[in-house]
């Protein structure tokens, strides 16, 4: 695809808009960027102080949320960061959804792109600086009007105060006369509020998006209805690269209400006036597909070959991480511990099936989308419609769950193609059956870990060989993988054991490619990798006849990690024996070392029904260090959600392929966690530092090992293939 060239062009755009943090605050661009939002602003003459904020004479402060909401709460937490530095009265803040413009790019991705739990971390400085800058503009305007030095002015929520004369003036009153200087004041990090003076950040405020959601008033892409709009749905080819060769579209076109049948690159679209007619025609659609990129994939059989690859050290993989000489250390070890693990493909199962609405007119393209990558949707739509990116308006709608699936924009691209072909606005909606058939799976993985130990049982070397499908080339294009010298960061993340005191480590990735569509999936590689790593840690503790928590405590390198472990031990009352249940523990990191990692440790209390092989998770305790929590309650909810994803993927979730196609069809045979299987969850946040760190996926990786370790504690048997289905549990117990 043309992803590489698109990324290249964006690179140029980002370069042209200045240095990392400067782009958000340029005057001319801010006016342009705030354009569409200004239409529904309470006051049309509210001056835009910079791209992110405008203050009306009535005191209303409108703050743009730069990324779309998908349940993570950033619609509230990001504007709150700006409001803190502006010293805004939060009750006067109105939150708007930003347009898709370079002014709102995340400095981490140089794009409006919501992945990796990095929105708060990425926008933290830009929003603080934007808030401080807006405040400074207000102060300077008041200083000039009152003829007092700026240094004598202070602020209280939405009020400028001159203590010496006892004068006070509200932000709204200032906005009525203030002018925005041609060059906005420069704010250095030193001019920002000290964290100790925060009055919004770190205290829970109600989430802005919640009331509308409880009333059914939130508009998701699937809910958009436009005058003259057609409905469409797409049958996707079973695997990457498979194309439609023939279909019975001519017959379907004779049905009332069906207007078009359109062959696409890797699918066939049915378009009509009524959704029910389109869905009925979809059921009657028959398509012959060309062979895809991979051989006809049989995932059950392939798992054995993944394991063979992971085991076969003569087959070199891509080195994803290395410290010291692990291979030599293992070769010279007094004893080597070896363990193998595997995980099945999993599906996102976001509750809103993929949907998108597009309209192409002489003015340009307008799109209503729930997407994690709005900037990419804009650029691809511009390419397809043959217009400049400035003539594409992407409305960032709330997503009915993203979890990584909506980082892939396949449905958005198809919607623009279809809108172009039919010449009318069109809504594309996947049926659940097509959503799952077109699953962009988390890769299937096989792991082989060899640990070298010296005569005293100390770890001398650790080698983790991982065989897994790829995500990077499918999400970003081949060029990105080449640029990273083949290192696949999404699949290999946290496969190393950097948190533990291990002198030599090696992580190798053996690529497996079967034409399976993949995407990031909540927690990305941490799910499978932390499972394998933390299970091995428990194996080693057992061999050393040491309590698994104490073993980890002795092996962890840093004080923050030890603090979460200590806390979770207290929360779970780790030392207390339970009747009929057992405890297991897991540890996981999240984030990029250069941006700061969040840490979590989880204890699972598990009941095992040996006869049926059924596992029930009764309770989870998780201690999490996410640095500075902007919205603690919401952060805990996000962590709880990711813990429960951990339970779901550890126990039931399983996507299989036969003859290259997904075998599951709906929630009837792809089982996600339900209410009755939900454990009690206790999350405790441990504050460290002055920087918010990733939260939304933290904890997911801790759960599968905690469950497997709890079963080990109860039975001495290791569950090493995820999910731990009853058959697999019975097999492990019988082994």
């Amino acid at each position: 695809m043309s992803r590489t060239s698109t990324l290249g062009r964006r690179g140029v755009l980002a370069g042209a808009t200045g240095l990392a943090l400067a782009f958000a605050f340029r005057g001319p661009e801010s006016a342009e960027a705030a354009g569409p939002a200004a239409l529904d602003a309470p006051s049309l003459n509210a001056p835009a102080l910079n791209a992110y904020v405008r203050i009306g004479p009535d005191g209303t402060i409108t703050i743009q949320a730069p990324v779309p909401e998908m349940g993570q709460g950033s619609d509230t937490s990001l504007p709150l960061i700006l409001a803190e530095e502006l010293d805004a009265d939060w009750s006067r803040v109105r939150i708007a959804t930003a347009p898709v413009r370079p002014a709102f790019d995340s400095p981490i991705f140089r794009s409006q792109f919501v992945v990796a739990s990095l929105s708060v971390r990425g926008y933290w400085m830009p929003l603080r600086i934007a808030g401080a800058q807006a405040r400074r503009v207000l102060l300077e305007a008041v200083a000039a009007r009152w003829g007092v030095p700026v240094a004598e002015l202070t602020t209280e929520p939405s009020v400028v105060v001159h203590a010496a004369s006892g004068r006070r003036i509200s932000y709204g009153e200032v906005a009525a006369f203030a002018t925005v200087p041609a060059t906005l004041p420069e704010i250095t990090p030193a001019a920002l509020k000290p964290v100790s003076a925060f009055r919004l950040i770190g205290r829970d405020v109600p989430r802005h998006d919640v009331p509308a959601k409880a009333l059914g008033q939130t508009v998701f892409a699937i809910d958009v209805r436009l005058p003259g709009m057609l409905h469409a749905t797409v049958a996707r080819s079973p695997g990457l690269g498979a194309r439609p060769v023939s279909h019975n579209g001519a017959e379907l076109l004779r049905r009332p209400g069906i207007t078009h049948v359109i062959p696409l690159d890797q699918g066939v679209a049915i378009v009509g006036e009524r959704i029910e007619a389109v869905l009925a025609a979809r059921r009657a659609l028959r398509v012959q597909w060309s062979p895809g990129e991979g051989p006809a994939h049989e995932s059950d059989a392939a798992l054995a070959s993944y394991l063979t690859d992971a085991r076969d050290t003569s087959r070199s993989g891509v080195t994803a991480g290395r410290a010291g000489e692990a291979a030599q250390a293992i070769a010279a070890a007094a004893r080597v511990h070896t363990a193998e693990f595997a995980t099945d493909y999993v599906y996102h199962a976001q509750m809103e099936p993929l949907a998108c609405v597009a309209s192409i007119t002489a003015e340009g393209v307008e799109i209503w989308d729930g997407t994690q990558w709005p900037s990419q949707v804009r650029d691809e739509a511009a390419r397809i419609a043959g217009v400049p990116a400035e003539r594409v308006k992407v409305n960032m709608l709330t997503m009915g769950g993203g979890f990584g699936r909506r980082a892939a924009i396949d449905t958005s691209i198809e919607t623009v193609h279809i809108a172009k072909a039919v010449g009318r606005p069109v809504k594309v909606m996947a049926t659940r059956e097509d959503d799952i058939a077109n699953a962009h799976a988390r890769p299937m993985t096989a792991h082989r870990i060899d640990v070298g130990l010296d005569a005293e049982g100390r770890i001398t070397g650790w080698r983790h060989r991982l065989a897994a499908d790829l995500v990077v080339p499918i999400l970003y294009g081949r060029g990105r993988l080449d640029a990273q010298r083949g290192v696949h960061h999404i699949v290999t993340c946290h496969a190393n054991v950097a948190q533990y005191d291990v002198p030599a480590t090696l992580t190798e990735h053996v690529y497996r490619e079967h034409g399976v569509r993949t995407a990031p999936w909540r927690g990305i590689g941490a799910g499978p990798n932390a499972f394998a790593v933390e299970a091995v840690i428990d194996d080693l503790a057992r061999q050393a006849r040491t309590d698994p928590l104490a073993y980890r405590m002795a092996l962890l390198r840093d004080a923050r990690a030890k603090a979460v472990l200590q806390a979770v031990g207290e929360m779970a009352d780790w030392g207390r024996r339970r009747e009929g249940t057992s405890l297991g523990i897991g540890f996981a990191r999240l984030g990029l070392p250069q941006l700061g990692e969040s840490l979590s440790a989880t204890v699972a209390e598990v009941a095992l029904d040996r006869a049926h092989g059924r596992i029930r998770v009764l309770r989870l305790w998780c201690a999490a260090d996410i640095g500075l929590a902007v919205q603690p309650r919401n952060a805990m909810r996000q962590i709880e959600g990711s813990l429960l994803w951990g339970v779901s993927s550890a126990l039931t979730e399983r996507l299989t392929f036969r003859d290259g196609a997904v075998q599951q069809s709906n929630f009837t045979d792809y089982e996600v966690l339900r209410a009755s299987d939900t454990p009690e969850v206790h999350v405790r946040l441990i504050r460290s530092g002055e920087m918010p760190l990733p939260a939304g996926e933290l904890g997911l990786g801790t759960v599968a090992p905690a469950i497997s370790n709890a079963v080990l504690a109860a039975t001495g048997r290791r569950l090493n293939i995820m999910p731990f289905t009853p058959e697999r549990v019975r097999a492990a117990l019988a082994a």
Partner: protein, 150 residues
């Protein structure tokens, strides 16, 4: 043509009798608070009330609702002041929010029968309503809060 009573209003829509009620509500009547999640009565996102009972609108031919009272989230008594809605907001049960209208409609029929449900009763009653964001513990809390009249 199908004639229905939706949220106390008589309506007539030009749809085939076997059209699932879900699409009549969402696309013909614009009541998009009722969601599509699976189409096969396996997720609960489309839960509405038919004569006061919780039903899955995706699996109910619209003709079967003729002459009966259909209530959607938009017609939930009290709107924002409905005790369940208030509890949902106070607890902040929704994450992405997509499943939540179905959850509230399902929960309403529990409280109608069992004014003070236990955690186990709630989990059993809500078991057919999936929440991929896994807000289940918050849903339990919200239902209990609504039950207490808090």
């Amino acid at each position: 043509m199908i004639s229905l009573t939706v949220n106390d209003r008589p309506v007539t829509v030009a749809a085939e009798p076997d059209t699932p009620l879900l699409w009549v509500l969402r696309e013909h009547l614009g009541l998009t608070g009722t969601k599509y999640g699976c189409g096969v009565a396996a997720c609960g996102a489309c839960t509405v009330h038919l004569d006061g009972a919780a039903v899955r609108a995706c699996a109910l031919p619209a003709s079967e609702a003729a002459g009966r009272a259909v209530t959607t989230i938009e017609g939930l008594p009290g709107g924002a002041q409905n005790p369940l809605v208030r509890a949902w907001v106070a607890v902040e049960a929704p994450q992405c929010g997509y499943c939540q209208t179905g959850q509230i409609m399902q929960a309403a029929t529990l409280l109608a029968r069992t004014p003070q449900p236990s955690r186990a009763e709630i989990l059993a009653h809500m078991d057919g309503n999936l929440c991929r964001c896994a807000s289940y513990n918050q849903i339990v809390e919200a239902i209990q809060q609504a039950a207490r009249g808090a």
